[in-house]
Amino acid sequence: MTDQSVAKAIVDPDHLPIWDDPREALYHRVTIELDKCDGCRLCVVVCPANLLELFGPKDNLKARLKADATGCMSCNNCYAVCAGQGIYATEPYDFAGYYEQKAIGAFAPPRKF
């Protein structure tokens, strides 16, 4: 995981994040459980930010994040289509300064009240 503490350290509310600086723009906190991945490629197809790719030998393909990937917005489309439930966003994206996420809590599935 990237240094969230660094991003939160910038307290100036007018500060606008530098989008390619990982200390100020935190993207792609995605977990992929490789033992649940069967290489079906659906997550690669549906990812709106085009962040995923397959790797490995042809008979044992697995999904992973591209090396230069940026722009995951924690939409969890990958999880929604994954038959093995092996890929999911673990934290919302976040930025420093003006765009810092506020009043946002942990991920939760639909809760019945």
Binding site: W19, N50, A80, V81, P109
Partner: protein
């Protein structure tokens, strides 16, 4: 037998509530009250999702569509759900442009891509390495634009603009049907909010019928092309507010509901304030 009602006889609001339903001619007031109490009741805590809740929870923004065109009657049907949306002052400040013509969608897409290419070239400092003069020049002007219009230059749409310019992403997601929602600028209050409510009806109705949808805010980029607007039939007082792409989703994006962030709820009750998530 006719029944008259003196409002002064009503003891509390519960009595008033009894008046508002079951308009069957010929029933007495007490019969109507008994019927209402037998059919309207609160759900139990933890009850299963009903159909509307299920549609809400399984809806995903779909950005990869099959080539098959949804039948016209289904599009008419989901637009009909939009027509019954609430609006401020019941002013209904919207109209629709439905584009199911491949050539027309391609033209809209091409213009959107051109705009994104222009924007990327002029404001995307990440095209240049750190420490270069070009980068610092563009960075300062981008940050100034950002200050003036912070919502449009949020890092997420900026990333999408770059991806569109590089051909990694499409404005209208190659959808077979694109619904442009136009806003009547003369609407009561904040007409853009009404457009959001209409679109939500449309999107949820589509979900319940097995169609995938995606909101496209970038559709507003088309507003800078007068020729295209004329061709589409968009004229004042109407403006493009949003677009919704419609088609059959690739994969099975409804097989599981996802986890989403929780949000702060400040809850006032009985003179006490709680903060919930």
């Amino acid at each position: 037998m006719s029944e008259t009602l003196d409002l002064e006889d009503l003891e509390d609001l519960d009595d008033l509530e009894d008046l508002d339903c079951d308009l069957e001619v010929g029933t007495t007031r007490s019969e109507r009250t008994a019927l209402r109490r037998s059919t309207v009741h609160d759900i139990e805590p933890g009850a299963d999702w009903n159909d509307v809740e299920h549609a809400i929870l399984t809806r995903r923004s779909i950005r990869k569509f099959k080539g098959r065109q949804p039948p016209a009657h289904m599009i008419r049907r989901i637009l009909e759900m939009g027509r019954f949306a609430p609006s401020q002052g019941n002013c209904q400040p919207w109209s629709f442009v439905v584009v199911r013509d491949k050539a027309m969608i391609a033209e809209m897409e091409a213009y959107g891509v051109a705009v994104c290419k222009g924007m990327t070239a002029s404001i995307d400092y990440t095209n240049y390495a750190e420490g270069t003069e070009q980068r610092s020049a563009i960075l300062s002007s981008t940050q100034e634009l950002n200050r003036q219009n912070p919502n449009s230059f949020h890092p997420v749409p900026m990333t999408a603009i770059k991806a569109i310019a590089n051909g990694r992403f499409a404005v209208f997601h190659k959808a077979p049907t694109v619904i442009l929602i136009l806003v009547d600028r003369r609407g009561v209050g904040v007409p853009e909010v009404d457009v959001g409510v209409v679109g939500t009806n449309i999107v949820l109705a589509a979900q319940s019928l097995g169609l995938g949808t995606c909101w496209v805010g970038f559709s507003r980029l088309l507003s800078s092309n007068a020729a295209l607007l004329e061709k589409l039939g968009v004229a004042p007082p109407f403006e493009i507010a949003e677009a919704i792409c419609v088609g059959y989703p690739i994969g099975n994006p409804t097989q599981q509901t996802i986890a989403r962030q929780t949000h702060q709820i400040t809850w006032w009750e009985d003179g006490e304030k709680q903060v919930l998530f």
